[in-house]
């Protein structure tokens, strides 16, 4: 962390200028612009950024503050943007000087917990070393703790993690992520972990409209687009898909789009005609409607 110069306590500091100088405005803006929906998450990120900024200014005025605890927990259903927001968070922390590198090391249980006695500690420490100066993002963190098996090595990983979270707070920020209910249970059985995490952020599910918007942005990113009818069909698709099991919000949308691209490619290939840029970039209604969810819905309707 860069030590700010001490200013006399009577001096006043322009917060807006501070905000500009830190360059977090752009990150917050791009967060606002690039991510659809997620209003509560964006507000929390703003709050945290504001707190850190104010803290920095306070420090400059010589008002001693504890180094803020920055460990966070992101809970929400799959595909709600937890990893993406973690990346942005790292960027914000980096710009504010609370995180030296601003890189994100994303791990799961397998990367932390070993397979035999004495394997876990070196493995966990190795990961922690890699994450130093940045953000350690632990996806599905509750798998670290398996209450049904008392010999499980996950507990060892948790203890090492807790120690580093406490002692090396300025070297490392830990973000735990996972489904809301399981995270809740994980924190209940690990009170030490709960007390060391200052910020709990909930990621709501996307609405159907938001998913439609996300799909369009994804396609635009890959230089594709829906035509009118396809867009309407896709909205219907989202409604149908949401009813199925294993619905994973934006990730399901992404997979669906991948399959539609496959169908589009095959359609163009089979048609044998010459193609232009227009044909190559457009996903038509038939590409969308060929999905098995439509066929299933039809079958259900027929019954």
């Amino acid at each position: 962390m860069n030590a700010p110069e001490q200013a006399p306590a009577t001096a006043s500091i322009d917060l807006a200028a501070e905000f500009r100088d830190a360059g977090i405005g752009e990150v917050l803006e791009s967060l606002e612009r690039d991510l659809v929906g997620l209003a509560p998450v964006k507000r929390r990120v703003r709050e945290i950024a504001a707190l850190l900024l104010v803290d920095r200014v306070r420090q400059r005025l010589g008002l001693a503050t504890e180094h803020p605890s920055l460990h966070m927990s992101f809970s929400g259903n799959p595909g709600t943007g937890k990893t993406t927001v973690a990346m942005r968070m790292a960027e914000i922390l980096h710009r504010l000087g609370y995180c030296r590198r601003g890189h994100v090391v994303a791990v799961t249980r397998d990367d932390l917990v070993g397979q035999y006695i004495g394997h876990t500690a070196p493995k966990t420490k190795e990961v922690l070393k890699r994450a130093m100066g940045g953000v350690l993002f632990i996806d599905e963190a509750y798998y670290l703790y398996r209450p049904e098996n008392e010999k499980d090595y996950g507990q060892e990983a948790i203890e090492i993690l807790l120690q580093v979270m406490e002692n090396q707070r300025d070297d490392l920020v830990v973000i735990l992520a996972g489904y809301a209910d399981r995270m809740e249970r994980f924190f209940e059985s690990n009170p030490g972990m709960k007390s060391r995490i200052a910020h709990h952020v909930d990621f709501p599910d996307y609405s159907n409209d938001e998913l439609g918007e996300i799909a369009q942005r994804m396609l635009a990113g890959w230089n594709y687009r829906f035509d009118e009818a396809a867009r309407r069909a896709f909205d219907e698709y989202i409604v149908l898909r949401r009813r199925q099991s294993h619905f994973a919000n934006a990730r399901s949308v992404r997979n669906a789009l991948d399959r539609m691209r496959l169908r589009q490619a095959l359609r163009l290939f089979d048609s044998g005609a010459t193609v232009d840029a227009e044909a190559l970039t457009t996903i038509t209604e038939s590409d969308v409607r060929a999905s098995r969810h439509f066929q299933q819905a039809e079958a259900d309707g027929a019954q």
Binding site: R100, H103, K129, R130, M132, G133, G134, D171
Partner: protein, 141 residues
Amino acid sequence: MRITQGCFSFLPDLTDTQIAAQINHCLEQNWAVALEFTDDPHPRNTYWNMWGLPMFDLRDPAGVMGELKACREANPENYIRINAFDSTKGWETVRMSFIVQRPTAEPGFRLIRQETQGRKLRYTMESYAVGRAPEGARYAP
């Protein structure tokens, strides 16, 4: 006699901040940093004991500094050095190596003269520390 091996050995000992800055430089060059320790500082003893494996994929010196602290606690009266390995094709070698801890007293080396045929002299040297005690007890405080 203060032994001089590797970079910076003619300078006063580096502080931890300076060590971290040097490690930072190594990591910026994408070199893998490793810790090694020994109590046999003979210049031809190139194989020191490894403190864990070389640390790949690190982004920040904090990880190395943590290991260095642990190594110092475990080997308080040993020499410890930091090696930075460059894996780029064509280099594939240690690019930088410097001592980050030395024993409080360094007795130095004895020059041994061995007389051979025709009054010829062969020279070699031996560390006093190595001569006086077995491995592990050489620099006991």
